[in-house]
């Protein structure tokens, strides 16, 4: 990997995302019960929690994929709660879904080029292939023929091309081999150094802890704790209480 240019002029006081009193529903079932959180530019925060705690639903609500939602979601200063999903993406947000969402009717390169460019400053195809050499080798393979790790790389890579600088990443390390997890950690470190704003949903606390500035712990659709990276030791009991199974 080439040495990244460090972006030092990121204004970390700008609030890129602020969620207030977010409620979300699947039909009759009420799954988000007033989520509040905020993320500044250049920050990496995690959403932690047990299975079914509402982390994926929170990301889907931000993207407009969850239709039944109330409250306020300010993204780059715009309230997106009533916005159509395709307009939300154009504010400069990229989404890496839990199920990866690689299209089987598209080859690797078509998958990579699929998301429209939403802002300037995205990575070039060359840069992406340099970062993920496996994808370059397999550019003409059917997207879903890739290994799980490669599909995850592809799902990440395709949103880096678009110029989105707010990334919502859902369980990107799930089921992957340690070397690939390490590789993703390197990628996130690089993105952070470039000033990307990242919301990371994770089960793998050991992966997330060294990367994150802050952790939001969710339980039954509530934010039950917020832990800054300098409080990891003093608030260790929070993780024992809400994350252990």
């Amino acid at each position: 990997m080439t040495v990244p240019p460090i972006v030092s002029d990121v204004d970390r006081s700008v609030e890129e995302l602020r969620i207030a009193d977010l409620h979300g529903f699947y039909g009759e079932s009420h799954v988000l019960h007033g989520i509040d959180l905020s993320v500044n530019r250049g920050e990496l925060v995690t959403l932690l929690g047990r299975n079914g705690s509402g982390r994926t639903t929170t990301l889907r609500a931000i993207m407009g994929l969850l239709r039944q939602r109330t409250g306020s979601i300010m993204l780059k200063g715009r309230d997106v709660i009533k916005m159509q999903p395709h307009k939300i993406a154009h504010l400069g947000v990229g989404f890496c879904p839990e199920e990866r969402g690689i299209f089987s009717s598209l080859n690797v390169e078509e998958n990579l080029l699929l998301p429209p460019v939403v802002a300037s400053g995205g990575m070039s195809l060359d840069e992406i292939y340099e970062m993920f050499p496996n994808l370059a080798e397999r550019r003409t393979s059917q997207g879903t023929r890739l290994s799980g790790g490669e599909q995850q790389m592809l799902a990440m890579a395709r949103i880096l091309r678009t110029g989105a600088d707010v990334l919502l990443l859902d369980e990107i390390t799930e089921g992957l081999a340690p070397v690939i997890v390490q590789r993703l950690a390197d990628v996130l470190t690089l993105l952070k150094s470039r000033g990307y704003t990242i919301v990371l949903v994770e089960q793998n606390f050991r992966f997330a802890a060294p990367l994150a500035d802050r952790h939001y712990v969710l339980e039954h659709g509530h934010v039950v704790a917020t832990v800054r990276s300098d409080e990891l030791e003093s608030k260790a009991h929070v993780f024992d209480e809400y994350l252990s199974v």
Partner: protein, 295 residues
């Protein structure tokens, strides 16, 4: 003149040509259905009526506005496609998210209304529409006489099918269509205006039906029910090919036309039913169709 299996070559070739022409119509029509089904998940029962609208649009353009066949070949699909856009935007879109059966019922009702209105206005019998002067006559191939217009129909259909296939399989816009067929919600979350894509897909599928209608006008008469007879066979073709497969619908359409033509030679009584027999066999052996993704 030589015989093949006791059938004069001339007869065989003649029926093959008829089969190829019918197959061309099946291909263009089932291609339109496949495009529509892919993005809307709706079996467009109005397809036959929209084919009829294409033929009538050509007839109107000629008789009321003096616009000839070549003009109609461009204008009629645009007009009927625009009508399709309105239908999608104001009717079909409201059915997004409810059972597919509603889309089927709506388009079926639409077909009945359109055909009923035209029968009421023009009577059930047909209006003649002359082939363009450039394409009258034909060529004697030695073993058969090939009318230019029929050769043109096959060529134009193949051209449009190939063009559509290239558009869908080889362009960025086509990648959107494929992705939208597979996972429209995620595509939209990436910033693609999927509702617009769906409208365009429906308009395009309808325009294809109208294009086939214009091609058909000089061969069959322009009549209100010209589509309702044809479309039943086209649905069988779609089932055989596999709902939603682009290349599959084109190849199956052509092949079924030829199969029908050959059956007419060797077993004329069966020619009207052979496609349905093939359909039944395919449904038993490969329920998702020859080119469909087997579940």
């Amino acid at each position: 003149m030589a015989d093949i299996l006791g059938v004069p070559v001339q007869v065989l070739m003649g029926q093959l040509l008829i089969g190829l022409i019918n197959g061309s119509f099946y291909a263009v029509l089932s291609l339109g259905l496949a495009v529509i089904f892919g993005l809307l998940n709706i079996v467009n029962f109005a397809h036959g009526a929209q084919y009829m609208l294409g033929a009538f649009a050509a007839w109107f353009l000629l008789n009321k506005l003096g616009i000839n066949y070549w003009g109609a070949l461009i204008l009629a699909p645009l007009m009927v496609g625009a009508f399709g856009v309105v239908i999608e935007r104001f009717l079909l879109r409201r059915l997004a998210g409810v059972d597919h059966l509603y889309g089927l019922l709506l388009t079926f009702g639409l077909a009945l209304i359109l055909e009923g209105t035209f029968v009421h206005t023009f009577g059930a019998s047909g209006q003649p529409y002359a082939a363009p002067a450039q394409l009258t006559g034909g060529i004697n191939l030695g073993f058969m006489f090939l009318p230019w217009y029929r050769a043109w129909v096959v060529a134009a259909s193949l051209f449009v099918c190939l063009g559509t296939w290239l558009l869908i399989e080889r362009t960025k816009f086509g990648a959107y269509l494929r992705a939208g067929t597979e996972n429209p919600r995620l595509l939209q979350a990436f910033g693609v205006n999927v509702p617009l894509l769906i409208t365009i897909a429906y308009g395009y599928g309808v325009a294809l039906a109208a294009f086939a209608g214009v091609l058909a006008a000089p061969i069959f008469q322009v009549s209100p029910l010209m589509g309702s007879n044809l479309i039943i066979v086209v649905f069988a073709v779609v089932v055989i090919g596999g709902m939603g497969s682009i290349a599959g619908s084109i190849l199956t359409g052509l092949a079924m036309g030829v199969v029908e033509g050959l059956t007419k030679v060797f077993w004329p009584e069966a020619s009207a039913t052979v496609i349905f027999v093939v359909m039944a066999i395919v449904l038993v052996l490969r329920p998702a169709g020859l080119f469909g993704k087997q579940a």
